[in-house]
Symmetry: C2
Subunit: 128 residues, 2 copies
Amino acid sequence: MKSVKASGETGDMLDYVPFFKAFCNSTRAQIIEFLLGGERCVCEMTGPLDVSQPLVSHHLALLRDAGLVRMRNEGARTYYSIDWERFDGDLAGFLDYVQRLRNAPPAPGVADSACAVREQSPKELNAS
Amino acid sequence: MKSVKASGETGDMLDYVPFFKAFCNSTRAQIIEFLLGGERCVCEMTGPLDVSQPLVSHHLALLRDAGLVRMRNEGARTYYSIDWERFDGDLAGFLDYVQRLRNAPPAPGVADSACAVREQSPKELNAS
DNA sequence: CTTGACCATAAACGCTTGTCAATGTATGGT
DNA sequence: ACCATACATTGACAAGCGTTTATGGTCAAG
């Protein structure tokens, strides 16, 4: 429920901040890159990524809390995978939102706002 | 060379981290949301966004350094706008990159790596 | 030239975040 | 029962980041 409304109407840009926070860190980005190839367990990443196991575990916990990855426990191993429903949903919602604002006719309230909107007269706007 | 190569071949996920860092902060996200509607000057944002002018200026400088927005000086005003070439380029490159890794046949080196790849024998893999 | 609006920069502070080291738990093999 | 592997969690520390405050510089108008 948190991510994106199913039908049209997406929220504002703030709704996507948690999603993008997943990609704005080098370690997380590499982890996600790894998971894009499919399901992986933790010990598969510590090697190639050259980061400590607790660090991988920590970032995976963040991604899990953000709802971007899912966890599966099998014996001693813990397998992580990308939650594609959430991933695609947020991404599509974001793209759709950008497209909509981009194609917005002129601009919401530019003509009569313009800077001195606070408590100043917009004279230079009419003058120019 | 830094952002995205024009033809196919995109770099790794790390190349997109600077791009996503622009969206992972609430204030910046709102600024970008504002700029999606078209070119705006600084004083147009301080009001609706309810943030101080130096703060807007600071984040705009970050976005500018990241190459995501462009600056235009007109009299006392400074107008900012999104660099769509860069925006679309990074976004398309990212989407393409995700798609490619997602459709990668089985998985690069999973079959013979699997955890104890360090200095351990992968017996349980053959056994199971 | 002075005033006021517009904007950028610098310094300082507090908080979040990333990272490491150590510890704890569970599973599986011997 | 013992040990090794796999993983999570905790606490502590450092670094980065966001925000505020203060200051200076530029432009237009009077």
